[in-house]
């Protein structure tokens, strides 16, 4: 992992001008892990020139340093993937009483899963053939089968899953974590959101910083591109060669040094000087991080072909380099939203990412990164076990898809501190509603924060007269998910 060692030729004589604690911090830039979070925030709120991305410790020790969130946007069907429902298979075509379980549109009879489920691994977790390759990692998966959210619509559910509030502007989970933990590599953004081909719906609000400083917002990367300058803004220019830019920075250092000598010990001047050195390194490191062709052939082959493979491999390269939070969206819009032709579409979508997800878990494990990386898989909600009925102007009316379902759905966690080979909670006999040990999205957030080392009730930001939390006034840690 690269560190911000001063670049020798840029810093020929790094004689520190230390002005007490604040100046010292600004100079270090990184690696002062012992500093309490509260101190740091106080400093940044006072407008002091502390590097806001410097790594820092959470409330209590945690092995988890990074998060990779594989976002199956649109809502993957849990009853076709990780939530096996024998009754659904047995009673296909039967009308069931769904009571008050309203979804977005009318649905009809039970619609059995077209896929076969098999017991996998030592744990015997039931996983469908859609994720055949991922299922080889069954014993590492912590499958939450009793997830539930608030409404059966994409926009509020995406906001809830990402930001903990369905409507109001609140910081996303990645922004919270980057704000709380900083990031380990100052030459890369701390929070990266990748989505090939454009934005998911609700767009960049999914990784918004809300009322946190804007620099904690996710850096969006369209992974359909491969050219680094389309991936990271201002990462290079064509008109000045690297050796010329080196000379520019050398002159800049001379000029700034003379300026600083007249104004000794001003930490904000010093930290801005340092930011140019970091930027110079970032140009190289960013290009390197996003270039999967630098991986050996056997690794590239393990992840497979296509944009999903490439972006999931990039995710691994990013966390390997110290990026705090990487969100990998399946694609622009809402690809997993299969109101029609679910058999064809879910098969296609899973085929695009199954191998790469399995490879990610293998690869992280082989590199010793799985312990310190929390992998999250899921969508904003699941889908109905009943078939969607035709709605004029809304679907193709083929009666071979499933509607949105926020009453019960599945997500899984792997890696960093989670209990592998474990299925938590359950939906009803058909998979409609979470009935055993239900886990609300707020509870998931509370648990994720705990895994990363934060008490979700203490992890707050003062804004507009209130102390805000990712979990607002909700959330209960689900201890069973933690190893």
């Amino acid at each position: 992992m690269s560190a911000a060692v001063p670049i020798p030729f840029l810093d020929p004589d790094p004689s520190p001008v230390v002005v007490g604690r604040r100046g010292m911090l600004a100079r270090c830039g990184m690696g002062f892990g012992g500093l309490a979070l509260a101190d740091l925030l106080q400093q940044t709120q006072a407008g002091e020139p502390l590097n806001p991305m410097s790594p820092r410790q959470p409330h209590f020790p945690s092995r988890v340093k990074h998060v990779i969130h594989l976002f199956m946007n649109g809502g993957p069907s849990h009853v076709d993937t990780f939530d096996y429902k024998p009754e659904l298979q047995r009673r296909g075509g039967e009308k069931i009483a769904t009571g008050n379980l309203a979804t977005e549109r009318p649905t009809g009879a039970l619609y059995p899963s077209p896929w076969r489920f098999r017991p996998c691994g030592q744990s015997g977790l039931m996983i469908s053939d859609l994720f055949r390759k991922t299922s080889a990692h069954a014993d590492q998966l912590c499958v939450i089968r009793s997830m539930h959210a608030d409404v059966p619509n994409h926009e509020p559910s995406l906001m809830l899953m990402n930001c903990g509030d369905a409507r109001l502007v609140r910081p996303s989970m990645g922004s919270w974590l980057t704000w709380g933990l900083g990031t380990d590599n100052q030459n890369l953004p701390g929070f990266v959101a990748m989505c090939p081909g454009g934005y998911p719906i609700q767009e960049s609000q999914n990784w918004q910083a809300g009322f946190l400083p804007g620099i904690f917002q996710g850096t969006y990367v369209d992974t359909n591109h491969t050219e680094v300058e389309k991936l990271i803004e201002n990462v290079r220019n064509d008109r000045i060669s690297s050796s010329e830019q080196t000379q520019q920075l050398k002159l800049l250092r001379l000029l700034n040094r003379q300026h600083l000598e007249q104004r000794p010990g001003d930490a904000q001047l010093e930290s801005r000087i340092q930011s140019f050195e970091l930027a110079f390194r970032m140009q190289t490191d960013a290009a390197d991080a996003f270039d999967v062709s630098r991986e050996p052939k056997h690794i590239r082959e393990m992840y497979g072909e296509g944009v999903q493979a490439r972006q999931i491999l990039i995710a691994r390269r990013l966390v390997e380099r110290g990026v705090r939070f990487v969100q990998v969206w399946h694609g622009q819009g809402q690809p997993w939203d299969n109101h029609d032709d679910i058999e064809v579409n879910h098969a296609r979508l899973a085929r695009q990412c199954d191998q790469a997800i399995a490879a990610l878990l293998t690869d992280l494990g082989q590199r010793g990164l799985l312990d310190e990386t929390l992998v999250i898989w899921g969508g904003e909600f699941g889908r109905t076990p009943t078939v969607e009925l035709p709605t004029k102007g809304a679907n193709a009316g083929k009666i071979n898809g499933r509607d949105h379902n926020h009453w019960g759905f599945t997500m899984w966690l792997a890696g960093g501190g989670v209990r592998g080979g474990y299925a938590h909670g359950a939906t009803d006999e058909f998979g409609f509603k979470a009935v055993e040990k239900p886990v609300h999205v707020h509870d998931l957030h509370a648990t994720l924060l705990k895994l990363i080392g934060f008490d979700h009730e203490q992890f707050t930001f003062r804004y507009a007269g209130r102390d805000f939390r990712l979990t607002d006034v909700h959330g209960k840690v689900v201890e069973e998910l933690i190893a």
């Binding site: 407008g47 010329e244 520019q248 390194r281 140009q283 507009a464 007269g465």
Partner: protein, 870 residues
């Protein structure tokens, strides 16, 4: 008596009248809800001061359940659950002629009595968790004494020496106990630069700096600075600078946020900005400024679209998928936090946890905005109008519109209102709201306004939380100064220019920003202001200053928004930036612009490498640097001094001159050797067994992402030879190979690897030969219907030497399209590796080199001196 003491007490009673009166009629409410909503506040506000933890008059204590139900303190059970008539508490509340009458301050109103009766009838439920003791002490004490709710108090100035300005005198009084004194004045040039940025957000003209220095030498600096201040205040750039500050308050954006597929543009948003800038330039009173923004439709001139645009303040917020409740919530937050520093939107779901703001207050304001419609486009799409029938608001229990609670009147938050404030009767109440906000009896509005001005001028407010003057905000160090400024501000007719003049002529503002080691032990944060703070230019000032340095700044005042985040050619001031609320451009986030999602009390100030990347690589900066080089070209011998004059507004020192000369020479030399550094795409001849390419010619014709030899493909002379980003096609023979040439821009060592694919399943494929300029064959491979990789390491190159990646057709030139990617990892001693990637570096046309003078100008733009104000 403090005004708040009277208003708070009365106010809360009035609030109780409203809530409890309705509660009695409610059937669905649970007993514990009744306690929380009605009985607990009643006990807190009317009883516990005398019968609580601090005092137990007549041994009666009403803050603990045990005392109330079992009479532990007084031996008499005060409440007999289920039996009001047998409850002593109920008896004394009746104010009978022959009994003790409680509360002694006056009998409870009937709805409150009804609530108490219901409560006792229901068994006097009292949740075990209700810790009235702590609540009572804390809340009452804090509310009554909180500094920000006290009337604005003009300090006693009778001992102020006549030759001292009031600001300086008040600052000195805070410094004296610490045996500290203010710093000496900053140099004339520094003060002039400060003035120019403070008022207009732009750097001073060189000529002004010159005359400041002359005035300083002739002893007339003070008069000159006064005159300069006036001239700057008269410039329209003043309104642009301070207008942008106001747009932060107003959470200005040009778009609505996420609204499904609806058109997102607020096409007329800029007219609001226009109105703000004009108001500032005309020095409209701040009270009128607020009146028009809240209720231009109700004021003279209501048919004037330009005036109605003022209401963009309210109407240009996020649309929250057109959810009315959220839109109104946004407006309530904007008006209360933005104008008065109170956080009313906290009370959407429950009474404010800290401040004396009830849920009833929230829904009183809700009713005002719910009674205001957006009627459409004419005469202004930004306006609101009052509904013919105003909405009579009710409390939404827990903020849920489906759970309707008691009715509340439309009126000002009770704890902030004058004791005799009437409920609002005129239309929606928006105009009355505006008038209540700007009432001189309202202590908050003027304090919040002057604090914000102080913050912009000193880098930090007297109150550090400009959007929260509530209970949790401590009384500021300079509370007297804040009050004096607020009083002066109101007395001047709320003149913003007068306020600026007052502060800008103070010695406190004009003092040096040099560190004060003597003051740091007692005042490390410089709250006492023994020196001025060094300020960093914000995004707008920095960008505008780059344009001012190049002379390209477009000084047109007003007009529609310009997309400066995406178009580097925009030369308008940054205040005119188009702000897309939904996908705020990266550059705005990188440079800490205010979030347009809600009222932004202050900007964050961060230092991150992405800011430096912008200044190193963004074409806006490169273009303006080149422009500075162009306009200084005629300066001959003095060109370095001319560049310094443009960028830093001063002459270089002799050391700087020497450094810059050396820099220019180095760059010139580098460009001579490395002019060809990087990739060239061409064709040439490489016969069998030859080790150097001959007849290398670059491909210059661009067609659909391809570089080719001529207009046609195949070319009559050169055949199919072309190159594109991902590969290309060789010509028909070894005289027409497709060649990528990579030239070293420095003495270096390189590592290379590549991958080449012949995707067709027909033909005999292609061959790749990789040659160093000195005739070394570094790699060779042939790809036929498949993929091959190459690698070579440890290659030493001199600056200007190159490596050729040569693809030929083998024996058969059909089906010879290929995909290729070559990566050169270049290491120069002491530098991090640089990666050259044939795909990523692909350009249809070579970029112009940045000339040495432009590089010098850019480097000066990067300096701390350019970005900070001493």
């Amino acid at each position: 008596m403090h005004r708040f003491l009277s208003t708070c007490g009365l106010g809360l009673v009035a609030w109780l009248l409203v809530t409890t009166g309705q509660l009695a009629a409610q059937t669905a409410e649970s007993p514990s809800d009744l306690f929380e909503r009605a009985i607990r506040p009643l006990l807190l506000d009317r009883c516990i001061e005398c019968h609580g933890p601090t005092k137990q008059e007549h041994q009666v204590r009403l803050d603990r359940r045990s005392d109330v139900l079992t009479g532990a303190a007084s031996d008499i059970p005060l409440v007999v659950p289920g039996q009001p008539d047998k409850s002593r508490l109920w008896q004394v509340l009746q104010h009978s002629a022959d009994d003790i009458r409680m509360p002694s301050s006056g009998k409870l109103d009937q709805p409150s009595l009804d609530a108490v009766q219901s409560w006792i009838l229901q068994g006097a439920p009292w949740p075990e968790t209700a810790n009235l003791e702590a609540d009572a002490v804390a809340r009452l004490q804090r509310w009554r004494q909180h500094w920000a709710f006290q009337p604005v108090h003009t300090p006693d100035l009778s001992t102020q020496p006549p030759d001292t300005q009031t600001i300086d005198w008040l600052i000195d009084r805070q410094l004296q106990p610490h045996q500290l004194q203010r710093s000496p004045p900053a140099p004339a040039g520094v003060i002039a630069r400060r003035l120019s940025y403070a008022i207009t957000g732009l750097p001073p003209e060189l000529t002004e700096l010159e005359s400041a220095r002359i005035a300083e030498h002739s002893g007339s600096l003070s008069a000159w600075l006064t005159d300069y201040t006036e001239r700057l205040l008269a410039q329209p750039q003043y309104g642009e600078r301070w207008g942008r500050y106001w747009l932060d308050v107003a959470r200005y954006a040009d778009t609505k946020g996420y609204v499904f597929t609806e058109n997102r543009e607020y096409a007329d948003a800029w007219r609001y900005r226009e109105w703000v800038i004009r108001s500032l330039n005309h020095d409209q009173g701040f009270d009128q400024f607020i009146h028009q923004q809240l209720a231009a439709d109700r004021l003279p001139g209501a048919d004037d679209p330009a005036q109605l645009a003022a209401m963009g303040f309210l109407t240009l917020g996020r649309r929250f998928l057109n959810n009315t409740h959220d839109i109104i919530d946004d407006r309530i937050d904007l008006v209360t936090r933005g104008l008065m520093g109170v956080t009313v939107s906290c009370a959407r779901c429950h009474d404010h946890k800290y401040d004396p703001i009830s849920q009833a207050d929230y829904y009183s304001l809700y009713g005002v905005f719910a009674s205001s419609d957006e009627p459409g486009t004419e005469p202004s799409p930004l306006r609101l109008i009052d509904r013919p029938q105003p909405v009579e608001p009710v409390i939404f229990l827990r903020g849920n519109p489906g759970n309707r609670g008691p009715a509340v009147p439309r009126r000002f938050p009770v704890a902030l209102a004058a004791p005799d404030a009437p409920v609002w009767q005129s239309g929606s109440g928006r105009l009355e709201l505006a008038q209540a906000i700007t009432s001189t009896a309202n202590p908050l509005t003027a304090r919040v306004a002057v604090n914000r001005v102080w913050m912009h001028l000193f880098g930090r407010g007297l109150v550090e939380t400009p959007g929260d003057f509530g209970i949790r905000t401590d009384k500021p160090q300079h509370a007297e100064l804040l009050d004096w400024l607020a009083a002066e501000f109101m007395a001047s007719g709320w003149s913003r220019k007068a306020l600026l003049r007052t502060i800008l002529r103070s010695e406190t503002w004009r003092q040096s920003s040099d560190r004060r080691p003597d003051a740091e032990p007692v005042d490390p944060e410089n709250r006492l202001l023994a020196r001025m703070n060094r300020l960093r230019l914000d995004f707008e000032a920095q960008r505008d200053s780059v344009l001012a340095a190049s002379g390209q700044l477009d000084r047109t005042v007003g007009g529609p928004s310009a997309d400066l985040a995406n178009d580097p050619a925009v030369t308008r001031r940054a205040v005119y930036a188009r702000i897309d609320r939904q996908n705020l451009p990266g550059i705005f986030r990188t440079f800490d612009l205010a979030s347009p999602d809600a009222h932004a009390p202050r900007r964050y100030q961060t230092t991150i490498p992405q800011q430096a990347l912008f200044y190193l690589n963004n074409s806006f900066v490169l273009n303006q640097s080149a422009e500075i080089a162009r306009v200084t070209a005629a300066a001959g011998e003095d060109r370095i001094a001319a560049v310094f004059g443009h960028v830093l507004r001063r002459s270089p020192t002799s050391t700087e001159l020497a450094d810059c000369h050396a820099f220019l020479q180095t760059i010139t030399e580098l460009q001579q050797v490395t002019g060809q550094g990087g990739w060239q795409l061409g064709r040439g001849s490489l016969p069998e067994n030859a080790l150097t390419v001959s007849d290398f010619q670059t491909l210059t014709v661009v067609r659909e992402g391809r570089l080719q030899a001529g207009d046609q493909l195949p070319d009559p002379q050169f055949g199919w030879v072309f190159l594109n980003r991902n590969g290309g096609h060789p010509g028909n023979d070894l005289q027409h190979c497709a060649i990528r040439r990579w030239t070293a821009d420095n003495n270096c060592r390189v590592l290379l690897h590549g991958v080449i694919t012949h995707p067709s399943d027909q033909g005999d494929g292609i061959r790749l030969r990789v040659l160093a300029a000195d005739g070394r064959l570094l790699a060779e491979t042939s790809a036929t219907n498949g993929t091959q990789t190459i690698a070579a390491a440890g290659i030493q190159l001199q600056a200007g030497q190159f490596i050729d990646f040569v693809v030929d057709c083998r024996t058969n030139s059909s089906h010879d399209s290929f995909r290729s990617k070559f990566v050169v990892t270049q290491t120069v001693d002491g530098q991090p590796a640089r990666i050259w990637n044939s795909e990523q570096d692909f350009r249809e046309a070579p970029s112009p080199r940045q000339d040495p003078w432009a590089q010098l100008a850019q480097t000066l733009l990067l300096t701390n001196e350019f970005s900070f104000i001493d």
